[in-house]
Subunit: 136 residues, 4 copies
């Protein structure tokens, strides 16, 4: 499972990890997740496809973390259609859930046009995401 080692510069004057950084940890875990399932996101970018975050939902900060903590991050496919991918994240610290949330992504060409993920455009990615969403 992806792990993030919290850094000193990620803390704030409350002495805890600043809440904005968890959105960055979601991104870290997401890129590792894509690599794990065989789709290197950076390779997609080189092919001219980007997948920006279009929404964040149900972001819950349950417990704080701080420098030197190692946060384990699980990423699951919550929903998928050709236009929107929804991922769900659970972050734990020594077995305790400290954060949960969802991100939604669309798929765009470099020119900013919608690129649906279909059997014609990206069949292997589509199949893999459908397989993962069914597992849930």
């Amino acid at each position: 499972m992806y792990q993030h080692h919290v850094q000193y510069y990620e803390t704030d004057k409350m002495g805890i990890t600043h809440h904005s950084n968890y959105i960055r940890f979601m991104e870290e875990a997401r890129l590792a997740f894509f690599k794990d399932i065989g789709f290197d996101y950076m390779e997609f970018e080189r092919l001219g496809l980007v997948s920006p975050v279009v929404a964040l939902n149900n972001i819950r900060y349950k417990k704080p973390s701080t420098v030197d903590d190692v946060i384990a991050i699980e990423v699951k496919v919550k929903a998928f259609n050709p236009f929107v991918l929804t991922l769900h994240y659970v972050m734990t610290l020594e077995g305790t859930v400290i954060f949960e949330g969802d991100s939604e992504h669309c798929f765009l060409s470099k020119e900013g046009k919608m690129v649906p993920i279909t059997e014609k455009t990206f069949p292997a990615l589509r199949e893999k995401l459908l397989e993962l969403v069914e597992k849930e």
Copy 2:
């Protein structure tokens, strides 16, 4: 209205403001909002009260922004009870809405105990927040 001037270091390799930074702009606008309604958040911290973000909801990235853009940020009180304050944010760029979202906050003592905002604990803040939530 609060304005954020987007910086070069806030962009990413897509050439746009990195999505995590909008969570930071929400915080900037929130502290300015508290000051505007007569409650300096930093003064509250000196009194031993902190108000961490416990949730983010309905975060919508509608349009990108980039370095040198000036984003106008409106903050409204969406809901308030003694234990939870919900704020709603609308960010616009030259009149176009580019981002919307909500943050939820609780109130804690430095020791981490819940401090309800009541007539007894913080009457002026309570009154002001109730007044603002009714406006909507």
Copy 3:
């Protein structure tokens, strides 16, 4: 003079502005400085010229700052030749110097080739920078 209003997310668990953020404030002040002298850096980027930081020297953290502080930042041209521009920064908080440092920049085409700032390539920028360096 350029001013930076320190944000909560720029503090760390020592309760002060994280030292890495001053490097970002230097960038903020630098872009404002270029605009002030009539050269919008973003316009240069659109023309295909970038000016990355190649060195930082004599960075001195003299006093801390924290959230809500307003830091005034002065930028001066310390040295200039067709290949390297050296800028000097002094940051003050209520009149007290809290930070000083230098940055060095080269000029590159988008393809990464050196673009000297000469009478032939960018005469107005060259003249302005020479004028400013002589003032010191």
Copy 4:
């Protein structure tokens, strides 16, 4: 050797790691270095000792890096006296040096008073740092 895996959010619109982030990577590598030599910096903070950065010198950005790059960071003790510790950092990417620089640190009590590192105050730390500086 300490390694930093560059993240998407650490890039900027030039498509490369933003220069301010290397200052953060220096901090990451420094905390790992202290742990390696048997002195957990976070333990020192719990004892009431902080070691802020007071200066950065000879910071050289030699080659860019970007998302997904793995940067190896070597930390050496360049100089040490009871009041100032100077560390030297070399960052390499696939064997090529991409960054070099120094940081200077003092030692302070939580109240902000200088705490010299002597045989009386922190004998083991002093001995270890002297041993490491002699190696160079």
